[in-house]
Each structure stands twice: as structure tokens, then as C-alpha cells.
Symmetry: C2
């Protein structure tokens, strides 16, 4: 591994193990596994999924849909509230492949119906408690949207979709699975209400914490987790994975050491790792764990050693006397990111798959 | 202005006014204005500087040095502790143009001297109180580095350089200018100590807060502010600029509104604005102010309206009843970023200069 600047190092075996673990839970069931590709955004990781039999994917922007359509993917859900300013681009993609869109208002649905020129699937985005976006289950707008879609030649109603992002602020398997259960009940109530008119509608659900902790997905028709392919410290803290499951580190050159305060300076900052952090108490910020790079990957986290601060290009690592003795300028060390999706987005042009 | 997805909108007149204001303070003085280009990272903004007479620039990575060398810049300081793993790339750049490097240890200096093949300038990085990196003024390592450099045919000792990044956590002109004064005294003590041996050495200093607030730069030989070209909310809070001086907004499509909680959802998240925020108290996070886009630029911030949360692609805006009435899905609104350097880095491929 030749590293000269901040580089996302991706452990292919761990990625494959993470994919296999999730796939296994959908095997011999009718649940469609439609992984979210916003985490990796890479053709190469897409290929690993493809070889594992995955044919349907999720993305979070029209740009990403275009990128993966160009990589040969033909069934893509853009799991983001429809941006009607991109309808021209959506038409260009929908001309060639199957695209599913999310709506949550009659305003955007009307504009979509006016301007869409090719067949697309339409999900209604439901808020099952995250309170970011989506309609609540009893919102009359749901009915009005369905009335609009019904009979349109290009738009087929696909069903109800939610993202339970509030699992990220919960700890403990029981509480997380309760959120999943509540989402299942909510989404299926809606499904039952409309299934006689639309016999093919489904309920689609996804987030890494609950999909990682659940033993299976009975009651859902489709799951869309994404982050699990890499995992990260946030997921480790939530309890979604072990440290060993984390499939990426950001390899960073050491450029200075400060023995008077047990600090190491790396070439690796907010433009490589993002400014995402975990605050353990008011005065402590954790921007990443630190590992040694090895011939075949990386070590366990170095005890007492963590990224305490990031500026644009610099990272400051706090370490111990013994940590300091073994790390010198010119070395390359690995940082386990807090949020792998953001680090991977920043390092789309600087990665190595090992 | 045709906006369909998150786009950095750069107001050329404001950029020029910000450049002029800083330039004016160095006119008719011997102080070299060597602006930091890490803020914008754009050839187009570089051209504005070039037309204003700037010939010397600062960057924070070897990659940026390469980019601007390819744009015709021939005098570049890489204001980051030398990363010896990039010496091959540094040699390729130094073959054609003048590069200045920063060292702060004999370890890296020795490796540099062993492997550098073309003339480069060497600054010693001095810590004047920020405590990120650099040597303290009384560190014996300074002497040892200078002994190493002396007589090397490719490396010429350029002097002492510091970045007073601790001005970012201070409020008030007096306190910030005191940091500047302390840096000036410290750096000049070192200069006086070595000037008889190296008559051409200089002291180089730079950070946007103090360079914005100071009336002039007497006692420094060179200044290297960068952020001032755009400014942002952080600088506004520090007191470095007015809101009207801020030269960039991130234009974002509105994709949903939630009247029950006075929230607006934009296509614009952590991958566009970065996750940088200002916390006003324990429960309040500010990720950006919100403005209306106009034919010629943007409005004042909309009262009672701000970005309260960001995920990868979504932003949540909190607003008032009246704010909600005038903003609808399909509109484009502007977000004044907390940290323009990070937003500009994320939107290098999605910007418009107006």
C-alpha cells in the first residue's frame, strides 16, 4: 500500500462480510434488499454488490442516480424528496432505466405529473418518528397525492417508504427494534388502506442501526440500509457493529509530533474526515480512533489515542507517552472515521481497495 | 442564474472589494501580500487576484500547489508542515516554479535535504500561541534545523512563519490585535537573532481575523490571510466582517415544507455545507443563515430563519409563520455558510460566479 496523502483504505473482505451478513437475513424471504449507495458512491463497491446478486439500489441524489446508471445499474430509487428543479435530468435518466422517486406534497407531485416523460415509480415518503421530512400517517395529503397519481400513464404508485433516522440517537437493541416495529406497523397500516386499489404496493424501510440489529425483516417488503457496508465509530457506539466490522480507515501521513503535550499532527483534516464528531461530555470531542497500518490492513485502536481536533487540512491526535514513542513524521497511520459516509464522500478521488 | 442543485454562488464584486480592502493596507509598504488560496481553491478567483497585482500565494497542500502551478502561479508557499511522503511530487513542482516549504523538526529537514533536487525556500514554523503545531520560540530545535539548512545548495532559509489560529476563538478587536502584536514580537525576536547570518530572512504571518481588524502590518514582512476573500458567519461572529462583506452563499433547492413545525427541507446537507456549526448554547446549533436569492445576488438574512440541522444531503431550516408563507418547494434559497473554506472545498465542481 503506497500512501502519500489522506486516502480512504477500504478492506474488501470486511465489505464483503458486511454485505453477506445483511444479504443472509433476506435470503429465502420475499424481502428485497435495495442497499443505499450514498455511503460508498463508488462503482467498485457497486460491483461487489452486483456479484452478490444485488440488482436494485438506493441513492440520495439525481447526480448519484446518473453516476450509477452509467455503471450499468437499471433499478434505482432516489430516496430524497423529489427536487422538481432536476426534472430534466430525471427525464434523461428515466428514458433508459427504472427510476423510483419520493414525493410528499401535491405541489411537487403535480409538477412531476406535468413534466415527466418516461415511466417512473412513485413512493410517498412517510415520517415514522424521525421528524426530518415525510408525511405523517394520518395526513390527508397522502390521499390527495394518490388521487393525483392514479391513472397517470408515466407514474406508477409504488407504496410507502420511510427512513427511521432517529435510531441514530438511541442506544440499545430493544429501543432501536421498537422504532423498527413502530415503523412496520405504521407503514403496513397505510399499505392495507390502499392495497385493494394498488395490489402491487410495498413498504420500504431502512437504516443501518435497526437493519443491523434485527434478525430478519418480516413485515417489510424492502430494506435500504447503506452505512453497514463500511460502518464507523458512530455505528460502533450505537451498537450496530463491532470495531472489527468497520471496513474503512483514512490513512494519513504524520507530519509533526509534540512531545511536550503528547500530540501528533497528521495531514488529514475536515476536508478528508469531515467535521463530524462525538462529544462524550461538554469538553471532550472525538473525531476518530487511531490505528496502525499493517501489511494486510490495520491494527486495533491504539490505546489512549484519538483525534481530538480537526482544521481544514490538519488533524491533532492526543496520545500517550508510549504512543508517541512509536509514531514519527513520515509514518502513515489510520483514522477510523466517525461517519464513514461523509469521509467516503470527501475521498471519492483518493481511495485504495485492499 | 440557473440553479438546480446545491451551488456555491460567488459574488465577484464582493470578492473584489474584499481583495481591494486587504491590498490597500499593504500599498506603499514593504509588506508582501501572499493570500492563502485554500479558501477558494479556484483558478477563477486566482485570476481576480492576479489582475489586482498579486504574484505570490499560499496553499495548504502539495495537491493545491500543483493545481495553481498549472494555472501559471510561480511563487507558492505550502503553509503546512512538510509531508516527506510527497517529496517526489514536490520535486516535480519545484523543477518549474518557486516553492517554499515549512519545517519544524530535524527529522523532516534531514529527509528533505537528502531528497530535494531543485531550489526551494524553507520557513521554520513557529507556534505563537495557537498550540496546533510549530516550534516554540525558545526551542533548541530551531538552531539545529538552521545548522542543517545552512550551506545546502537547494534549500535557502527564508525565515519564520506563524498562523495565529487562536484569534478564531477570541472575540473583540483589542484581544485579537494583542495576539497579533505578541506574534509580531515573537517572530521578530527570532529574526533579529539570525539576521546577521541570513540577511534576507523574513517573518510571515496570517489569519483573517487579525489581518481584517488591523489598520496595517508594520513589523511583518508578509501576510497570508485567506478566508477574507469570501468571509462567512464565523468571521461575522468574530467581528472580522459585516454580513454584507460575505461574498458567497450556497444556493439550495427547497424540496419540502412542514407547516406544523415551521420547518423547510432543502437539498443541501453536510456534503455541501460541511458539518461545521456554531453552538450558541447547549441546545442550539446554527449551521447557516438563510437568504432569498435575487436577480443580482441575495437578500439580507430572513429574520428568525436559520439552518438548524444537516444530514448527508438534507438540510432542515427553522423559520417563522411568515417565512414559511413565502418559501415553497421548487424555490431556490441561499445559505450563508458557517465556514466558507469547507463549503467551497465541497462545491469545487458546483459553483457560479455572478
Amino acid at each position: 500500500m503506497q500512501i502519500t496523502k489522506p486516502t480512504l483504505v477500504i478492506d474488501k473482505q470486511k465489505v464483503q462480510a458486511n454485505i453477506n451478513r445483511m444479504l443472509k437475513k433476506t435470503e429465502n424471504t420475499s424481502v428485497v434488499f435495495r442497499p443505499h449507495f450514498k455511503t460508498h458512491q463508488l462503482a467498485e463497491i457497486g460491483e461487489l454488490y452486483k456479484k452478490s446478486g444485488v440488482v436494485s439500489i438506493t441513492v440520495s441524489s439525481v447526480s448519484m442516480a446518473k453516476y450509477f446508471a452509467n455503471q450499468g445499474w437499471t433499478d434505482i430509487t432516489i430516496a430524497f424528496p423529489l427536487n422538481i428543479l432536476e426534472l430534466d435530468e430525471i427525464n434523461r435518466i428515466a428514458k433508459d432505466i427504472r427510476i423510483n422517486l419520493l414525493v410528499e406534497s401535491t405541489i411537487t407531485t403535480s409538477k412531476l405529473l406535468d413534466r415527466i416523460s418516461y415511466p417512473v415509480g412513485i413512493f410517498i415518503k412517510i415520517d415514522t418518528g424521525y421528524n426530518r421530512t415525510g408525511l405523517e400517517i394520518n395526513d390527508a395529503e397522502i390521499d390527495r397525492i394518490i388521487v393525483l397519481i392514479k391513472g397517470n400513464k408515466n407514474c406508477s404508485f409504488k407504496g410507502f417508504l420511510s427512513h427511521a433516522g432517529h435510531t441514530y440517537s438511541i442506544r440499545g437493541k430493544n429501543d432501536i427494534l421498537q422504532i423498527m416495529e413502530f415503523s412496520k406497523i405504521t407503514l403496513n397500516e397505510l399499505k392495507q388502506k390502499y392495497i385493494s386499489d394498488f395490489p402491487d404496493i410495498i413498504v420500504s424501510y431502512g437504516d443501518t442501526p435497526s437493519c443491523s440489529m434485527a434478525d430478519g425483516f418480516d413485515g417489510f417488503d424492502e430494506i435500504r440500509p447503506g452505512n453497514f457496508v463500511y460502518y464507523d465509530i458512530m455505528q460502533y457506539h450505537i451498537g450496530s457493529c463491532t470495531l472489527d466490522d468497520i471496513a474503512v480507515v483514512v490513512a494519513c501521513p504524520v507530519v509533526a509530533t509534540h512531545s511536550s503535550r503528547n500530540e501528533i499532527i497528521i495531514y488529514g483534516g475536515g476536508v478528508h474526515l469531515s467535521k463530524e464528531f462525538i462529544s462524550a461530555d461538554n469538553n471532550f470531542k472525538l473525531f476518530g480512533y487511531v490505528v496502525k497500518m499493517t501489511k494486510t490492513g490495520w491494527s486495533e485502536p491504539i490505546p489512549g489515542t484519538y483525534v481530538s481536533s480537526l482544521s481544514q487540512e490538519h488533524g491533532i491526535i492526543k496520545t500517550t507517552d508510549s504512543g508517541l514513542k512509536t509514531i514519527n513524521p513520515g509514518d502513515v497511520i489510520g483514522i477510523i472515521p466517525i461517519h464513514s459516509c461523509l469521509a467516503a464522500n470527501l475521498l471519492k478521488d483518493s481511495f485504495q481497495i485492499i
